[in-house]
């Protein structure tokens, strides 16, 4: 079961994670972080397939991906 961790203070609200997410489950929230950006939130963790494309595309290392149990390697990175 993949776990997506979003460092809200690092997020600049650029939405690229949303652009990259095949499941379209990561979106900009309504809360502002200290810098005044709407930071990203995961609105349906259950549908996350652990592909980590959000983390790959994040320009600010604001997303960490961990896995509980088995992980399906979808591509070599």
């Amino acid at each position: 079961m993949p776990i997506i961790k979003i460092h809200k203070e690092k997020c600049k609200g650029c939405e690229l994670c949303n652009y990259a997410c095949p499941q379209q489950i990561i979106k900009m929230g309504r809360e502002l972080n200290k810098k005044g950006y709407f930071f990203a939130i995961l609105d349906d963790p259950g549908r996350c397939i652990g592909c980590a494309m959000c983390a790959l595309t994040c320009p600010d290392l604001a997303i960490e991906v961990a896995v509980l149990g088995t992980r399906y390697v979808l591509y070599e990175y």
């Binding site: 810098k35 983390a55 790959l56 595309t57 994040c58 320009p59 600010d60 896995v67 992980r71 990175y77």
Partner: protein
Amino acid sequence: MVNTIFSRPEAHRDIFTHYCPGCTHGITHRLVAEVLDELKIRERAVGIAPVGCAVLAYNYFYCDFAEAAHGRAPAMATGIKRARPDLIVFTYQGDGDLASIGMGEIIHAANRGEKITVIFINNAIYGMTGGQMAPTTMPNQRATTCPFGRDVNVAGYPIRVAELLSNLVTPSYVARVTASIPSQIPNAKRALRKAFQYQIEGRCFSLVEFVSTCPTNWGMSPIKACGWAQSDMLPFYKLGVYKTPDDPIPDAVRPREVKK
């Protein structure tokens, strides 16, 4: 047991960067840092920052760094690499730095076959100085110094650095990748790893051109900027490997046994 499969590489400091939201510089920085970690070369790496948006790159990489004058990073890298061939020397340059003021330096560093790695960010504009036309600016693309769009009759056509350098005979590795398409990011990292491996082997000069976005100066949202890079830049700046050190050397210049 929870195991982390993606987190900040050690070669990238834990710091909030100055880059604009959605700028692909951030992705490229992380890819370079990941490769430095994976190839275990962080502790003997020396990076050279350009003048441009990446002028503060040394704040983000956790390895020795120098700062070159605008366009001169390949020359500075030559000095460092020749003085200390055991170090892994890489430059990180934008299109103004490399393809405009520094064009002489990059061509000759490649032509001398300096065993260095160049990360070249092509975002078709000057970022740090506020959106001026660059050598890679597309025809009719607006910039502050071509407000009505780049006029090829006055400013000529955009320069394709990967193709330009691949014309040199001296063996080298030259590839063009992009981080503007999420699915291309693993390929971009593979090209970077190959480039650094060639340096580790002391084999040849290597350069990876990143077709990148500049949401702020293109006047687009980060996602639209990725779209524009794909629709307008990639057809002209085609992705791929343009030169490898295995390419044959023309007979006319193939080195014969030099009689001592």
